[in-house]
């Protein structure tokens, strides 16, 4: 069945804080010709970006355009990402969709590509360049905020304090800092107290270690809040220590593991930014621009918090690649 119409928010300008309106997104039926679209991701090592990949490639197929997906191999590989995008362009891409590793680090590159009159669409992570053709993303800050608001709602100010250990992700990554700020802002003035913030690589191994040590350091913890990996890692640890009832888990973005956790009642809640849809919209924007059709400059799916209550009427295909989906790197 079709994925649209899909509830989205549309910003006036590229700026995240510009006025926004809610509406339903309607993509093109078909592309007029088989455009060659280059898509660059920071990496394809987890389910989150696999979801984006699914969205991008599916949409490319639906519209009948070519797509070539490259991945830099990790958030430390900014230089590689730049090289890859350059290679894409010299390979003759008509449009470029970038899931940026760095908020500012690609601006020069964007400028250069735009000067060749090739549209550049910013997906998921966000870039500060003035010259972007379009953005298909939500602010990760708001993801953090959603998680924060959820907790704040559970523990409004005045209520007895809830001790939270917060695991934003790898220190230095743009999305982590954003999520961190968002979360901090949202719990402002509530009864939620962040007893410790532990940065760490989003490997399950690293997160497990952090969680266990944190449990030792704060035996009286109420919540573990953090990346999807943190949540996934927390589940077995809590189970093994028989703390499942005492300590609740909240993630601030969504993965299959988190979905499973919520469905099994092991994870309390997690906001979703409808990753797949962001990918789909980005491709649609690219085609619209190439074909000179009118397009929305800055679109992002409405955020929703998936909880154990509303899980049953949540459609995972807007956020997750279906089970058994293998990463697709090129669509002919």
């Amino acid at each position: 069945q079709e994925w649209f119409p899909f509830p989205v928010e549309v910003w006036e300008t590229m700026a995240m804080d510009s006025a926004r309106t809610k509406m339903d997104y309607e993509p093109l039926e078909k592309a007029s010709k088989a455009w060659d679209i280059c898509v660059s991701f920071p990496h394809m090592k987890d389910a989150y970006w696999l979801g984006v990949d699914y969205g991008v490639t599916e949409e490319a197929k639906r519209l009948g355009v070519k797509a070539n997906v490259v991945e830099a191999g990790g958030y430390t590989e900014l230089n590689t990402q730049i090289s890859q995008i350059e290679d894409c362009v010299s390979a003759g891409a008509d449009a470029v969709i970038i899931g940026a590793i760095s908020f500012d680090g690609l601006n020069n590159l964007v400028g250069e590509i735009r000067s060749k009159d090739i549209p550049v669409i910013d997906v998921i992570n966000g870039m500060s360049s003035e010259e972007l053709s379009a953005k298909s993303l939500v602010s990760f800050g708001e993801m953090g905020a959603k998680a924060g608001e959820f907790l704040a709602a559970e523990h409004p100010s005045g209520g007895e304090a809830a001790k939270v250990a917060w695991f934003p992700g790898p220190a230095g990554a743009g999305w982590v800092e954003a999520g961190n700020t968002g979360f901090a802002g949202a719990i402002e003035g509530s009864a939620v107290e962040v007893v410790d913030t532990k940065y760490g690589d989003t490997g399950k191994e690293a997160q497990s270690k952090l969680i266990e040590d944190t449990l030792e350091a704060y035996p009286d913890l109420d919540y573990i809040v953090g990346t999807a990996v943190t949540a996934e890692a927390a589940v077995p640890i809590l189970r093994s220590r028989g703390l499942t009832d005492q300590i609740k888990v909240v993630a601030y973005y969504f993965t299959p593991g988190v979905a499973q956790g919520i469905s099994r009642g092991q994870i309390l809640a997690a906001p979703t930014d409808s990753t797949v849809i962001q990918g789909r919209i980005a491709v649609d924007q690219a085609v619209r621009i190439l074909e000179g059709k009118d397009f929305m400059m800055h679109v992002g799916p409405e955020l929703q918090v998936v909880t154990q209550e509303n899980y049953k009427d949540f459609d995972p295909t807007s956020t997750l690649a279906p089970d058994g989906f293998r990463p697709v790197f090129s669509v002919e």
């Binding site: 987890d46 532990k198 191994e205 040590d213 030792e216 350091a217 077995p236 189970r239």
Partner: protein, 342 residues
């Protein structure tokens, strides 16, 4: 160079002899461990609890097992950068095999677990076989060989999973090998102990064990003395990745999923654990006991800093500085060793 400095003050050498004698016998690490224990106990009241120490022990197990293998590679004068990939690959393959078997025959949990572990360890060891072949038979430098296999193996692991964790292993697996414990001691610790003891016997009670040191000490001399140097090098790398693979399976049990993104820090950390344990990168020198302590030390410090609530930026600084200091301290020790040899 060093020889000179040792001899600055023979008098002093005579006086503080006793302290040094212990120092030399047991090495630098026990002291470091002691210091770390004291410091962290002062910094956090949750540190020196049976539960936390057990926790440290379990956390260190994975690095420890990998370091045991790494030590072999170092002894023969090479090293193995592919241990991280081996961990990842065995985790992925093992988990897939286990899940598949579990689906095929849901009621035969133990069969699934056995099949999975065997598959994972076999897959991991394959990388060692290739490394060994390259190093021993083609004379490729261990660095390039294992570096190359790192990216080959990682590519394969990603290809198999697309980066998504592998779910669907029997719960028993995680409950037993990940979180289970007997007499209050976690199961993984038993596994590690078993491996360590086995390797100890192999290294120090059998001729072949001695040959690892010989090959690292002087390949030419070894082969002139009838040591099968090629064979020794080959099994070195097979064993090394065998250990890494076992660690990979244990980690999988702990994480409850097969992950392609684990073990990235293993290569350097395991070499670090060996080097602070006094294993020489030139080959031929190093004791297993110390390597175990080396791995423990790294685990202890990381845990201690987390409990002491040291800011995570600072943690990396401290850890780095500590490694260096540890080695410098060991240097000083080595200067005494000569004088107290007898």
């Amino acid at each position: 160079m060093t020889a000179d400095k040792t001899t600055t003050a023979p008098a002093a050498a005579a006086s503080g002899d006793f302290v040094k004698r212990i120092f030399v016998r047991v090495g630098i690490l026990p002291f470091l461990l002691l210091i770390a224990l004291i410091v962290f106990t002062l910094m956090s009241d949750n540190f020196l609890t049976a539960r936390n120490l057990m926790n440290v022990l379990r956390q260190s197990v994975y690095l420890m097992i990998v370091s045991l293998g790494q030590m072999l590679a170092l002894l023969t004068g090479g090293f193995d950068l592919s241990v991280g990939t081996v961990v990842a690959l065995s985790s992925v393959v093992g988990a897939m095999a286990m899940a598949a078997t579990a689906v095929a025959m849901p009621d035969m949990v133990w069969l699934a677990i056995t099949v999975g572990c065997l598959a994972g360890i076999a897959a991991g060891s394959m990388i060692g076989v290739v490394n060994g072949a390259g190093v021993a038979f083609f004379g490729v430098s261990p660095f390039m060989m294992s570096l190359g296999m790192t990216s080959v193996g990682f590519g394969v692991a990603l290809f198999l999973t697309g980066g998504v964790p592998v779910y669907g292993m029997p719960v028993a697996f995680g409950d037993i090998f990940g979180f289970g414990s007997m007499f209050g001691v976690p199961v993984p610790v038993y596994v590690a102990a078993l491996l360590a003891i086995g390797l100890y016997i192999f290294l120090y009670w059998t001729p072949q064990g001695r040959y690892f040191y010989a090959v690292g000490g002087n390949v030419k001399a070894a082969s002139l003395s009838g040591v099968n140097t090629t064979g020794t090098l080959f099994i070195t790398y097979v064993l090394c990745s065998f250990f890494a693979a076992v660690s990979g399976m244990l980690l999988t049990a702990r994480l409850d999923t097969g992950e392609a993104n684990i073990g990235a820090s293993m290569p350097l950390e395991s070499i670090a654990a060996c080097v602070i344990a006094g294993v020489s990168l030139r080959g031929g020198v190093g004791r297993l006991e110390n390597v175990v302590l080396g791995a423990l030390f790294i685990g202890l410090v990381q845990n201690g800093m987390n409990l002491a609530r040291i800011e995570s930026y600072l943690q990396t600084v401290v850890l780095g500085a500590l490694l260096i200091l540890a080695v410098i301290a060991d240097q000083i020790r080595l200067r005494y060793v000569a004088s107290l040899k007898d």
